[in-house]
Symmetry: C2
Subunit: 325 residues, 2 copies
């Protein structure tokens, strides 16, 4: 019998055009995806990809299978929804750890969504940085689900008893003071930003390490005028003309007057947002919640984003294996 996980992976592979990319999205290694697709071909007796050393091309059969598979998967969704609705649901309590930007700009949208009310989940929210919320997940801890982000391969570690699920990406943008007189739609090269003053993360934080590496790879050695881990503060300082800052799109939902937001192709970086959850809490309701979350985040950033698919810079583009022990 076919495996639904294989079908989901198939969808992601054909959408992204590569095993490795799909693996990154789904929280697998590329090897796992390769094996899953091989298994799917074996189970169905259909050749799904023409493989070459550098890429895979879905066959005609794969594309028709994709169409059916997405129908099957949405049917399973509605099955879960219908089943959990038809039971006199005992209002599961969910203790959620969440980092500030998500709590500020996404969570309220979720709570307003009619889909939310049908879930019958009673939320307990704890807003904190990922490193802290992960602590709360340790077995017997005070959390069931933690929404965390990771920039690049930064040393975020979690127990491998947790299930990781990709929620979305939150791209960093370059924010300049409007007073510098640079147009919003200007085509900017990294080199042109070389001598500007920058507002940076506190040195030593894992984000700072990744950003420094990114800057170094562009031969950019910024002059630092401020250290701030709080994006609201960074934004306001930028608006006041202090310096440039790298701010994730989510935080730009509240955009003070006096700033210009640029898209600098050389400086592409994203916070990868994940849900970590205790295995025993992985019920259908929680599953539906994380999907609602992913949809909301996608819908939210889609309105802001230029349109091109979010790619991480080269240094962080490796597939992301599950637990850094």
């Amino acid at each position: 019998m076919v495996n639904l996980l294989h079908l989901r992976t198939l969808l992601e592979v054909t959408r992204l055009g590569s095993f490795a990319a799909a693996a990154g999205r789904l929280g697998y290694t590329a090897s796992a995806v390769s094996q899953q697709m091989a298994a799917l071909e074996r189970d169905t007796g259909v050749e799904l990809f023409h493989r070459s050393a550098r890429s895979v091309v879905p066959t005609e059969a794969a594309l028709t299978m994709v169409r059916h598979a997405s129908k099957v998967l949405t049917d399973v969704e509605t099955l879960l929804a219908a089943a959990s609705r038809s039971t006199d649901s005992p209002v599961q309590e969910l203790r959620l750890g969440i980092f500030p930007s998500l709590a500020t700009y996404i969570l309220p949208d979720i709570l307003r969504n009619p889909r939310w009310k049908k879930l019958g989940i009673e939320l307990r929210v704890w807003v904190a940085e990922p490193s802290q919320t992960i602590q709360g997940l340790r077995t017997g801890g005070e959390l069931d689900l933690a929404l965390v982000y990771q920039v690049g391969q930064s040393g975020l570690a979690w127990p491998h008893t947790l299930d990781r699920q990709w929620i979305g990406d939150d791209d960093f943008r370059v924010v300049l003071p409007a007073s510098w007189g640079i147009r919003e739609d200007a085509e900017m090269q990294a080199s042109q930003l070389s001598d500007m003053p920058w507002i940076m993360h506190h040195p030593g934080t894992s984000d700072a390490v990744v950003i420094e590496r990114l800057f170094a790879s562009c031969n950019l050695h910024p002059r630092v005028v401020a250290y701030s881990d709080d994006f609201h503060a960074s934004l306001e300082m930028a608006a006041a003309g202090l310096g440039a800052a790298l701010v994730p799109e989510l935080a730009l939902r509240h955009r003070p007057p006096g700033v210009v937001v640029l898209d600098v192709p050389d400086i592409r970086l994203a916070r990868n947002v994940f849900a970590l959850l205790l295995n025993e809490k992985r019920t259908a309701q929680v599953q539906l919640f994380t999907e609602l979350l992913a949809d909301t985040l996608r819908g939210s950033t889609a309105t802001v984003r230029a349109g091109s698919p979010a790619m991480m810079p080269k240094t962080t583009q490796k597939s992301t294996p599950k637990p850094p022990a």
Copy 2:
């Protein structure tokens, strides 16, 4: 993620009303079914059954899940069909072992079915008794798929590398010479058949053993007038007035004049028809073939059958674990 096998099991359980019965159908033990349903409840976070010591009652949620699940499963069916159709299918050869009644009365119907032509399977057929076709399945043998039957727990053994799949039941009926003057719709008790002459299987065959046990459990000690393992011969002899016989419904598709077919509640026995197939041959096309087979058999016997669900007599109702080593 939900498991499709669990959904299929759920369907069977609600259809039959019992874990044990579903286990028998699906080729599992009752324990396996219990664990599968527990897993399904865990995965979906929905209580599916009210359990008591002697039975399970599906909840409301289970019933709605059943409705969705059957849709999902048929969607998967069409997915497989569509995918294998859209490929330029290289006409898989299937070497099929099949026992006589099935080859006589069911296989022709399949070959005439439009669904058959779409499968793109090239058949090689070998008609023989189960004990022989199973030999042909031994690894490196000359068969890919064997359709076999088993009466009760009779000592049919197959290598456990084979996949077993339940195809359907073929109920035995009591056949009497019309010359005995008994009406077709007569309500018959086993005791009334006690002193009649019977046409029986050759002693020593596994079928004979089961039938003797069944008769013994009804306190029936038949006088044997003929030994025959060939149902056509038995039928013709019965038509000629020689004696009563126990004949499976399939063989009754060719019903000679001069016989009366009875339904005797005490003497309920069925040949359980299974497909055994080499694991590596379990492609989607073969899967679809066995399903076509099951449908054809079901449709065929449904026209004959009285309507009540086919139950095996008590001595043979145990769940059937997979490999008798």
